[in-house]
Amino acid sequence: MTLSGYEALFFWIFGLAAIFAGLLTVMARNAVHSALFLISSLISVAALFILARAEFIAGVQILVYVGGVMVLFLFVIMLVNVGAEERGSEEIFNNQRQVTASLIFCLLLVGGMLYSINTGYRGLQARYPATQEAVAAQETIRDEAHAPSATGSSRITKDTESVGSSLYRYASLPFEIASILLLVAIIGSVMLARTLKQEASADDVAPENAD
C-alpha cells in the first residue's frame, strides 16, 4: 500500500496539515477558532481517507462530520459561548498542576505509541514478507481491472459498492442498531435541551415543580 509520487506528496501535505490544525484546535483561545481549526483538521483527514482509497468514507466524513456535527458545534458555541473569552482575560487552560501532569502523561504516551507502531510494523512486515513489488504488481492488476472514468484519466473504483454490499449484507444488524441508536440520540437530545416552559407544557406540570 505504499504511496508514491504525487500521492506521497499530498499525503505529507495533508498529514501535516491535519496535525497542525489539531494542535491549533487545542490551543486556540477563541472557541470559534477552535471549531474552524477542527473543521480544517477533519477535511485534511478526509483527504487522507481518499489517499487511502476510502472515498466513500471521505465523503461521509465531510458530509456528516463536518457538515453536521461541526455545524452543530458552532450552533452550540453561539448559544453558550458568545463573548466568553473576550469579556475578560479568562484563563483557557486549567491550573498549572493539571496541565503539567497532562503534558507529562501525553509525552509518555506519545513515545510509547510511536515506538510500538514502528516495532509493530516491522513485526508485521516480518510476518507477511510480501515484497513491495509483488504487492504493487497485484495492486496494479486489480487497479487495471477497474472501469475507466468518462474522461479516461482515472478509474472508477468499487469502494462505495463494496462498502454498501458489506454494510447491507454482513453488517445489517449493526446498521439497524445504529439507526436505533440515532433515534435514541434524537429523542434524548430533544429531551435534554428543553426549556422549563417546554417541559411544563409537554407534561402539564407546573413550571415551579418541573425539575
Partner: protein, 818 residues
C-alpha cells in the same frame, strides 16, 4: 334371612347420613327427610322381623344357639389383637375383637322393640316436628341413635356394646340439646352426658376386668368360661362380683337408677319424640339389656344381686313419690319411667331376668304410648305442658284420649293389659325369690311403689283429660304461644310456626308472664290485662301422622302382655309358660343361666320336664336330670336366704297356685286403691288434694323439690369440683406462671447486663478504631473527590497507561533489557 341382620343397624345409619349431610345442602323437603328416615327404620324393622322369624320360628337348625354374622362372613376384624395374658393359668390368649352381630333370643327381642317402637315414634315425629327449621337435623340424630342402639343390642362382644353405649349417650346429648339456643336444654343435655359418663367409667372398668379375667370380649367365649366359676355368696367378694359391680354402675348411669337418676327428668327439655324413644323405650333400657346379657356374672355374685334388687326397689319408690307432686306432664312421665326402671332392676335382682325383659317390652309399649300421647296433648294445647292449665281434653282430642287410656290402664296393672302381666310377675318373683335374702322387702317396696304409680297416673289422667277445662280460665302458655295460638285460630299462622323457642317450653305459673317474643306483646298485655279471657284457644286433635302410631302402640299395650302369661294361669292355659316359642320366658331361656344346673337353657322351676333341647355346651359334672329341681335346689345353691314371704304364705295355704293367686289379687287391689285415691283426689273431691298437701306439708315440699338431690349434688360434687378447678388454676397462674415469668425476668436482666457490656465496651473499642482509621484516611480519600471532571479524565489516562504497561510488560522490559 338371618344373614342380613347386619343391614338392620346400617339402614338407619345410611338414612341418618343422607339426612344429616345432604338434608340442608340440597334443601330436602320435610316429606323427603321424613320419608328417608321412616323408610330406613321401616326397612330395618322388616328385616328384623324376617330374621327373628326365621331364627326362632322357622326351624333354624342353630336355635337356640346364638347366630353370629361372622358365621356367614358378614363381619370384619375390628381390632386385630396382640397377646393378652389371662388371669387364670399361665395361658396367653390372642385378644381379637371382631365387628359382628349376634342374633339370639335377647338381642332379637330388643331388635324388634327398637325398630318397631322406633318406627311408630319416627312416624309420630314427622308430624310433631313439622315446621321446625332443624327438621333434617332431628332425623339425622334420630337415625344415628337407632344405629347406635342397634349396635348396642346386636353386638357380639362387650366392646361393640360399649360403642353402642357411648353412641346412644352421644345421641341423647345431641337430641336433648336439640333446641340448643335454650339454656335449659343445653344444661340438661350436658347433665345427661356427664352423668352417663360417671356410669360409663364403671362399665369400662368392668370390661377391662372381663378381658383380663376371661381373655376375650366375645359373649360366647366369656359366658362359656364364666359358667364354671364358683358362685360368690354374700360375704365372699370375688372377681366376678367386682365385674358385676362395674357393670351395674354403668347400668345405673344409663338407666337412671338411684344415685345417677338426676339426668332423666331434666332430659324432658328435648322434643317429645326424643323423650319417648330414648328416655322411655330404648336407651334407658340398655342397662337392662346389659344386666340380662351378663346374667351369668350377676348370678355368680349374690351380693350384687342383692344390691341390684335393693337399688331398684329404692329407685322405684323414690321416683314414684316424687311423681305424685309434679305439675309438668312430661316430668310426671319421666319420674314414672325412673320408677318403672327400678321395677325392672328389681326383677333382675331377684333372679327373674326374663321377667325383667318382659317388663322392658311392655313398658316400651305403654310408656312410649303415653309419651307420644303427652306430645299430642302438648301439640294440641299449643305447647302448653303444665297440667294445671289442662283439663277436660277428653272431648277435644278423642283419639289421644282413648289411646292414652290404654296406656294408663296398662301402667296401673289392670288385667288384661300388658302392664299387669309383667308387673305381677315381678312382684311374685320378688316375694318368692331364693336368690337373695330380703325378698319380702323388695316385694313390699314394689307394692307400695305400684300403688303410688297408679295414684299419680290416675292424677295425670284426671288433670289432663277429665274435669273442667281449666285452660279457658287462665291464659295458657306464654305470650309467644298466645300470639301463635290466636293467629292459628284466625287462620293467619300455619300449624306450628317456628317461633323462638317454640317447642317444649319452660314451666311457668298460671298468669305469670313469660318474656315477650313479639313486639306487640306489650300492647297486647296493656289492652287485655292479666288473666282476662280473650277467646279461648281451643285445643285441637293431632293429624293422623300423630295419632295413628298412638293407635298402634295402644293395641300393643293392650295385647302385648299376652306373650308373658305367667304360670299362675296354668289351669287356664295348660302349661306354665303358654305359647311355646312365643312365650317370653321360654324364648329367653337359652340365654338365662341356671345356677342349679350351671347351664344355659334349662327351664327354672320343676313343674314340667325340660324339653330335651340339644345344647353343645360342655356338660358340667352336675346331673342332667336336674330339670326337676325346684326351689330347693336354688336354695341349695344360694344358701339360706332368710324369710321368704311366698313360702310363708304357702305354709298357710299349702298350695302354690293359691299363693300365686293371692299375690295377684293383692297387686290388683293395690292398683285399684291407687286408682281410686287418684280419682278421689282429682275427680270427685278436688279440694282434698289441697287439704292433704297442707297436712303433709313437709312430705309435699320434699317430694315437690325432688328431695333436693340436685341441690345436694351441686353442693358436694359440682361446686366442689369447680372450687378445685379454681384452686388449681390459681396455683397454676401464681406459682407456675410466676416461675415462668420469673425466669423471663432473669433472662431479661441478663440480657441487659450483656447489652451494656456490648454497648459500652465492645462498641467503644470498635468505634475508637474506626474513628482513628477514618481520621487518618479520610482526608486522603476526600482529596480524590475534586468534582473536577478533568481530574477524573487524567486518572483514566493514567490508568490506561498502567494497563497497557502491565499488558506489554514483557515487551517493554525487553526493550530496556536489550
Amino acid at each position: 334371612m338371618q344373614k342380613y341382620i347386619w343391614l338392620v343397624p346400617l339402614l338407619p345409619l345410611i338414612g341418618a347420613a343422607i339426612n344429616g349431610l345432604l338434608g340442608r345442602k340440597l334443601r330436602f323437603s320435610e316429606r323427603l327427610i321424613g320419608g328417608i328416615a321412616v323408610g330406613s327404620v321401616a326397612l330395618a324393622f322388616l328385616i328384623s322381623v324376617a330374621a327373628v322369624y326365621s331364627y326362632g320360628f322357622g326351624g333354624h337348625p342353630e336355635w337356640p344357639k346364638p347366630y353370629l354374622t361372622s358365621q356367614d362372613g358378614f363381619s370384619f376384624n375390628w381390632i386385630p389383637g396382640g397377646a393378652v395374658s389371662v388371669n387364670h393359668g399361665a395361658q396367653y390368649a390372642l385378644l381379637n375383637i371382631e365387628w359382628s352381630y349376634q342374633l339370639d333370643p335377647l338381642s332379637s327381642i330388643f331388635m324388634l322393640i327398637v325398630t318397631g317402637v322406633g318406627l311408630c315414634i319416627f312416624v309420630f315425629a314427622t308430624g310433631y316436628m313439622h315446621g321446625e327449621t332443624g327438621f333434617y337435623r332431628f332425623f339425622a340424630y334420630m337415625g344415628l341413635f337407632m344405629f347406635a342402639m342397634l349396635v348396642l343390642v346386636m353386638g357380639s362382644n362387650f366392646l361393640m356394646m360399649f360403642v353402642g353405649w357411648e353412641g346412644v349417650g352421644l345421641c341423647s346429648y345431641l337430641l336433648i340439646g336439640y333446641y340448643f339456643d335454650r339454656q335449659e336444654a343445653a344444661n340438661a343435655s350436658r347433665k345427661a352426658f356427664i352423668t352417663n359418663r360417671v356410669g360409663d367409667f364403671g362399665f369400662a372398668l368392668a370390661i377391662f376386668g372381663i378381658i383380663a379375667t376371661f381373655g376375650s370380649a366375645q359373649y360366647v367365649n366369656v359366658f362359656e368360661q364364666a359358667k364354671s366359676y364358683p358362685i360368690e355368696l354374700i360375704g365372699h367378694w370375688g372377681v366376678l362380683s367386682w365385674i358385676a359391680l362395674g357393670l351395674f354402675i354403668g347400668a345405673c348411669g344409663k338407666s337412671a337408677q338411684l344415685p345417677l337418676h338426676v339426668w332423666l327428668p331434666d332430659a324432658m327439655a328435648g322434643p317429645t319424640p326424643v323423650s319417648a324413644l330414648i328416655h322411655a323405650a330404648t336407651m334407658v333400657t340398655a342397662g337392662l339389656y346389659m344386666v340380662t346379657r351378663t346374667n351369668v356374672i350377676f348370678q355368680h355374685s349374690q351380693t350384687m344381686l342383692l344390691v341390684v334388687a335393693l337399688v331398684g326397689a329404692a329407685t322405684a319408690i323414690f321416683a314414684a313419690t316424687i311423681g305424685i307432686t309434679q305439675n309438668d306432664i312430661k316430668k310426671v312421665l319421666a319420674y314414672s319411667t325412673v320408677s318403672q326402671l327400678g321395677f325392672m332392676f328389681m326383677a333382675c335382682g331377684v333372679g327373674a331376668f326374663a321377667i325383667g325383659i318382659f317388663h322392658v317390652m311392655t313398658h316400651a309399649f305403654f310408656k312410649a304410648l303415653m309419651f307420644l300421647g303427652a306430645g299430642s296433648v302438648i301439640h294440641g294445647m299449643h305447647h302448653e305442658q303444665d297440667m294445671r292449665r289442662m283439663g277436660g281434653l277428653k272431648k277435644y282430642m278423642p283419639y289421644t284420649y282413648w289411646t292414652f287410656m290404654a296406656g294408663w290402664l296398662a301402667i296401673c296393672g289392670v288385667i288384661p293389659f300388658s302392664g299387669f302381666w309383667s308387673k305381677d310377675e315381678i312382684l311374685w318373683n320378688a316375694a318368692s325369690t331364693t336368690h337373695i335374702p330380703l325378698g319380702w322387702v323388695v316385694w313390699l317396696v314394689g307394692t307400695i311403689a305400684a300403688t303410688c304409680t297408679a295414684f299419680y297416673m290416675t292424677r295425670l289422667m284426671a288433670m289432663t283429660f277429665w274435669g273442667r277445662e281449666r285452660f279457658l280460665e287462665a291464659p295458657a302458655g306464654g305470650e309467644a304461644d298466645e300470639a301463635h295460638a290466636s293467629a292459628y285460630d284466625k287462620g293467619l299462622a300455619p300449624h306450628d310456626a317456628t317461633f323462638a323457642s317454640a317447642g317444649d317450653r319452660p314451666r311457668h305459673e298460671p298468669g305469670e308472664h313469660v318474656g315477650p317474643v313479639h313486639e306487640n306483646v306489650a300492647h297486647h298485655v296493656a289492652t287485655h290485662g292479666h288473666g282476662e279471657h280473650h277467646g279461648a284457644h281451643i285445643p285441637h286433635e293431632s293429624p293422623p301422622s300423630m295419632w295413628v302410631p298412638l293407635a298402634v302402640l295402644a293395641v300393643l299395650a293392650t295385647l302385648g302382655g299376652l306373650v308373658g302369661i305367667g304360670p299362675a294361669f296354668r289351669t287356664l292355659t295348660g302349661t306354665e309358660h303358654p305359647g311355646g316359642h312365643l312365650n317370653i320366658v321360654t324364648w329367653l331361656n337359652p340365654i338365662i343361666w341356671n345356677p342349679v344346673t350351671r347351664e344355659f337353657n334349662t327351664p327354672e322351676g320343676g313343674h314340667e320336664a325340660a324339653a330335651p333341647i340339644e345344647t353343645t355346651h360342655a356338660a358340667p359334672p352336675v346331673a342332667e336330670g336336674a330339670a326337676e329341681a325346684g326351689h330347693g335346689s336354688v336354695a341349695a345353691v344360694y344358701g339360706d336366704t332368710g324369710f321368704n314371704l311366698a313360702h310363708a304364705v304357702e305354709g298357710s295355704t299349702h298350695s302354690e297356685l293359691a299363693t300365686e293367686w293371692i299375690f295377684i289379687i293383692i297387686s290388683l287391689v293395690v292398683a285399684g286403691i291407687g286408682m281410686l285415691l287418684g280419682g278421689l283426689f282429682y275427680v270427685w273431691r278436688p279440694a282434698l288434694a289441697g287439704v292433704w298437701s297442707q297436712r303433709l306439708r313437709p312430705l309435699y315440699v320434699a317430694s315437690y323439690n325432688k328431695y333436693w338431690v340436685d341441690e345436694f349434688y351441686g353442693l358436694t360434687v359440682t361446686r366442689r369440683t369447680m372450687d378445685l378447678a379454681r384452686a388449681v388454676f390459681s396455683f397454676d397462674s401464681r406459682l407456675v406462671d410466676g416461675i415462668v415469668n420469673g425466669l423471663a425476668w432473669l433472662s431479661r436482666l441478663f440480657s441487659r447486663i450483656v447489652g451494656g457490656f456490648d454497648k459500652y465496651f465492645v462498641d467503644g473499642l470498635v468505634n475508637t478504631v474506626a474513628a482513628f482509621i477514618m481520621r487518618l484516611m479520610s482526608p486522603l480519600f476526600r482529596a480524590a473527590q475534586t468534582g473536577f471532571t478533568q481530574n477524573y479524565a487524567l486518572v483514566m489516562v493514567l490508568g490506561l497507561m498502567v494497563a497497557v504497561a502491565v499488558f506489554f510488560a514483557r515487551d517493554i522490559l525487553a526493550v530496556f533489557g536489550r
